[in-house]
C-alpha cells in the first residue's frame, strides 16, 4: 500500500515533468507518453486506495494525508473524463502539476498507525457522501484550473502580447466551455453529497444539521457556487468575471476542506475523525 502510493506519486511526478516538457516543446508524442504515465499512476493510486479501504473498512479520508491523496485521485479521474470529452492536450500541463502538488503534500504527512475506527464510519451512506463530494470538488478544481488558463489567455489577447502562452493555450471559448461544463457537473454533485451527508447524519447522530464548522463552510462554498451559476444563467456571466468568481469559490472550498478540517474542530475535523 505504501509502496503503491509512492509508486503512484513517482509516476505522477514523471508525468508532470512530461506535461511541462510538452507545453514547451509542443510535441504530440510527449503528451501521449505523459498521459499514459499519468494513467498508470492513477491505476496504482486506485489500487492503493482500494487496499486502504479494505484494511480500514471505510473510505480512507480520516486524516489529512489520505484526504489530500483521495482528492488528488478524484481530480485525475475527472481529468481523464474531461480529456476524453474535450481532447484538450494542454489541460494536462495544468492538472498534472496541481495533483502532484497535492500528492507531495500528502506524502509528508505520516501514515495512520491506529487500527480501530469508529463503527459509525462503517456505512454505505458515508461512502457515497465522501465519493460524491470529492468528485464534485474535483470538477471545481478543474474549473479553477481552466479559469486560471482563461485569465492568462485573456490577458494576453487583451494586452496584445501574442507570445508563448497565446500560441499554446486554447481559445477563450474552449476554456469557458470546459469551465461551464465542470461547474454544471460539480454543483449538483456537491449538492447531492451534502444532502446524503445530512441523511446519514440523521441516521447516525439523530440530527440533519449540526452547524459543525465544516458544515457551515461547506454551505458557504455551496452558496458561492450557487451565486456563480445563477449569474451565469440569468445575466449571462461569462469569460473573465466568471473565471475570477470560479477561482474565489474554489479558494473558499479549499479553505473549508483543509483549514477548517485541521483547525476548527467539530465532528468533521480530521482530529475527531481519526479518534
Amino acid at each position: 500500500m505504501v509502496f503503491l502510493f509512492n509508486l503512484a506519486l513517482s509516476l505522477e511526478l514523471l508525468a508532470t515533468g512530461g506535461f511541462i516538457v510538452f507545453i514547451i516543446k509542443q510535441q504530440k508524442w510527449v503528451f501521449q507518453y505523459s498521459y499514459n504515465i499519468l494513467i498508470m499512476g492513477f491505476i496504482c493510486h486506485s489500487i492503493s486506495i482500494g487496499c486502504q479501504y479494505y484494511e480500514l473498512g471505510t473510505m480512507p479520508i480520516l486524516e489529512l494525508k489520505s484526504g489530500l491523496s483521495f482528492f488528488s485521485w478524484s481530480i485525475v479521474a475527472v481529468y481523464i473524463l474531461l480529456q476524453i470529452k474535450f481532447k484538450l492536450r494542454v489541460l494536462g500541463s495544468f492538472v498534472a502539476p496541481f495533483v502532484t502538488t497535492l500528492m507531495i503534500s500528502a506524502f509528508f504527512f505520516p501514515w495512520r498507525t491506529q487500527e480501530s475506527i469508529n463503527p459509525i464510519f462503517n456505512s454505505l451512506w458515508l461512502i457515497f457522501h465522501v465519493i460524491i463530494i470529492f468528485i464534485g470538488d474535483a470538477f471545481f478544481a478543474i474549473a479553477f484550473l481552466t479559469s486560471i488558463m482563461y485569465l492568462i489567455q485573456e490577458h494576453h489577447i487583451k494586452k496584445k502580447i501574442l507570445g508563448l502562452f497565446y500560441t499554446r493555450l486554447p481559445s477563450l471559448a474552449t476554456l469557458d466551455a470546459i469551465n461551464t461544463f465542470s461547474l454544471n457537473c460539480g454543483f449538483p454533485l456537491l449538492s447531492i453529497g451534502i444532502f446524503i451527508g445530512s441523511i446519514y447524519s440523521q441516521y447516525a447522530f439523530g440530527k440533519y444539521w449540526q452547524w459543525d464548522p465544516k458544515e457551515v463552510w461547506a454551505l458557504i462554498s455551496w452558496l458561492f457556487y450557487a451565486a456563480l451559476i445563477h449569474q451565469r444563467i440569468t445575466v449571462g456571466w461569462q469569460g473573465r468575471r466568471a473565471a475570477i468568481m470560479s477561482i474565489i469559490c474554489f479558494c473558499i472550498l479549499m479553505f473549508s476542506f483543509i483549514v477548517v478540517g485541521i483547525l476548527f474542530g467539530g465532528y468533521h475535523s480530521f482530529k475527531s475523525l481519526g479518534a
Binding site: 496584445k160 497565446y166 471559448a173 445575466v235 449571462g236 461569462q238 469569460g239 473573465r240 468575471r241
Partner: protein
C-alpha cells in the same frame, strides 16, 4: 560528364512584365517540354512557371550549348529578344542547382517565405514532365528528393506556422477568441477592397451571416450581393452591436464610428458574449478605449501589422534552420549522383560473372542432366549465391568510393583486375 543545369528568374531578379510574358500562353509548359525533349544536347528537363518565377531544370553533357538552346526557347515563348531578359536570369550548375531547387520547393525562395502553394506547383510541373516523357533517371530522383526535403522542412521547422497577411492574422485571432468561426455573425462597416478580401477569407471559415453597412448604401448592396449578406443602414449599426460577434471596420471616416459608450450600453443586451473588433481603417474607426470593456477585444491595423512583423521575423529565423536541412539533403543527393558513375562498372562486373556462370553450366551439363529438377534448382541457387557473395564486397567497395576524387583509379583498377574491358571488346 552529365551536368544538372538550372536556369530561371524569380520575383527578385525579374520584373513582373517579363515574368508574365513567359507565362502568357497556357500551353507554354508543354511547348517548352517538347522543345527540350527534341533538343539533342538536353537529356532530361522540367519546366516550372508560376506568377513569381520561371525555372528550367535539365541535365546535359554540354552546358553551354544547352544554355543557348534554353535562351532561344525562352525568347520564343515570351516573344522577347534574348537581350531583354538575359540580365534577369540566374544560372546554377550541379549541386548549386540542386540546392536552389530544394530551397524553392521548401518555399525559402518565395516572396512570402513559407507560403505553401509552391510545392503544389512543382508537383504539377513534374507531372507534366512525366506525361511529356521529358524527365529521366536523374531528374526523377531529384524531384522525389525535392518533395521529401520540402516535407521535411515543413514538419521540422515552424516556417509555415504563423499568419503573414492581415486577414489571416485576424482570422487566427478570432479563432483564439471564439474557437471556431462557424455560425458567427459578422458586421462589415465600409466596403473597400480590404473589406472584400477579409470577407472572402471569413466566408471560407463558415461564418453564418454577413451584414454590411456603408455610408453609400448602394456599395453596401453591391458587396452584400457578392457574399449573400444583408446590407444595412448606417443608423442600424447601433442595434447590430447587440447581435454580431465580429465587427470589421474599414471606412475613411475621420471620427470614431464605434464609441465606448455605444458598445458599453450593448453589453447587457449581448449577455456579456465576446465581441471582436477588427479595425483596419486609418484613422481608426473604433475608439481605442472599447478594448477596456469586459469580453470586448479591439485590434487595429497597427496591432495586426505588428503580429505579421513578428511572424515574418520568426519565419526568417526558421529559414536558417530550413537551410541547414536543405544543405544536408543536397549532400545526400550528391552522393547518390556519384554512385551513378560506378554503375556501368558494376553492370559489366555482374554481366561477366553471369557469362562465366552460364558457360560453366554448359560445360558440366552432360554430367548434371541425371539430376532431378529440384536438385538442378539447388545447384543453380548455390552457384548464384557463391557469385553474389564474391561480388558483393567489390561492389560495396566501389559504391563507397563513389565520392572520392580518385574514383577513376578505383574504377580502372577494378576493370583491369576483372579484365572487364577486354571481355567486353570480345563480346
Amino acid at each position: 560528364m552529365t551536368t544538372i543545369l538550372n536556369i530561371g528568374m524569380n520575383h527578385e531578379t525579374a520584373p513582373v512584365e517579363i515574368r508574365e510574358c513567359l507565362a502568357a500562353e497556357p500551353n507554354n509548359n508543354k511547348k517548352a517540354l517538347v522543345f527540350m525533349r527534341e533538343t539533342d544536347c538536353i537529356k532530361e528537363s522540367i519546366f516550372l512557371s508560376t506568377c513569381n518565377r520561371v525555372e528550367i531544370l535539365c541535365t546535359t553533357d554540354d552546358p553551354s550549348m544547352a544554355k543557348k538552346a534554353i535562351l532561344e526557347l525562352m525568347s520564343k515563348l515570351g516573344r522577347l529578344p534574348i537581350k531583354d531578359f538575359i540580365s534577369n536570369l540566374y544560372t546554377y550548375n550541379d549541386m548549386e542547382a540542386v540546392h536552389h531547387f530544394f530551397s524553392v520547393a521548401s518555399s525559402l525562395d518565395s516572396m512570402i517565405i513559407g507560403e505553401p502553394q509552391i510545392l503544389g506547383q512543382i508537383k504539377k510541373a513534374y507531372a507534366e514532365a512525366t506525361i511529356n516523357k521529358s524527365s529521366g533517371v536523374i531528374l526523377n530522383r531529384l524531384m522525389h528528393r525535392t518533395f521529401h526535403v520540402a516535407k521535411k522542412v515543413r514538419t521540422e521547422t515552424e516556417i509555415c506556422e504563423s499568419a503573414v497577411s492581415i486577414s489571416y492574422a485576424a482570422v487566427e485571432l478570432a479563432k483564439k477568441i471564439f474557437y471556431t468561426l462557424e455560425g458567427k455573425k459578422v458586421l462589415f462597416i465600409g466596403t473597400g477592397e480590404m473589406a472584400e478580401l477579409a470577407a472572402r477569407h471569413l466566408m471560407k471559415q463558415g461564418i453564418s451571416s454577413i451584414r454590411i453597412a456603408n455610408r453609400t448604401f448602394n456599395n453596401a448592396l453591391k458587396l452584400a450581393a457578392l457574399f449573400d449578406g444583408n446590407a444595412i443602414l448606417f443608423e442600424e449599426i447601433d442595434s447590430q452591436l447587440s447581435e454580431v460577434d465580429i465587427v470589421l471596420t474599414s471606412t475613411a471616416s475621420p471620427q470614431y464610428i464605434i464609441t465606448y459608450e455605444q458598445v458599453k450600453k450593448n453589453i447587457r443586451k449581448r449577455r456579456n458574449s465576446p465581441l471582436f473588433f477588427i479595425d483596419i481603417a486609418v484613422p481608426r474607426n473604433v475608439q481605442p478605449e472599447v478594448n477596456n470593456l469586459e469580453n470586448i477585444y479591439v485590434y487595429d491595423i497597427d496591432d495586426l501589422k505588428g503580429i505579421i512583423r513578428t511572424n515574418m521575423a520568426q519565419r526568417q529565423q526558421e529559414a536558417v534552420k530550413a537551410d541547414r536541412i536543405v544543405s544536408q539533403e543536397v549532400d545526400k543527393f550528391e552522393k547518390w549522383l556519384k554512385t551513378l558513375k560506378v554503375v556501368p562498372t558494376i553492370i559489366s562486373l555482374r554481366r561477366k560473372a553471369d557469362i562465366i556462370m552460364q558457360a560453366e553450366f554448359q560445360k558440366s551439363y552432360s554430367a548434371l542432366k541425371e539430376l532431378s529438377p529440384a536438385q538442378m534448382e539447388t545447384i543453380n541457387i548455390l552457384t548464384k549465391s557463391i557469385v553474389e557473395k564474391l561480388l558483393n564486397d567489390p561492389i560495396l567497395y566501389l559504391k563507397d568510393k563513389a565520392d572520392r576524387k580518385i574514383l577513376g583509379n578505383y574504377l580502372d583498377m577494378t576493370r583491369n583486375l576483372f579484365n572487364l574491358d577486354k571481355d567486353e571488346d570480345e563480346i
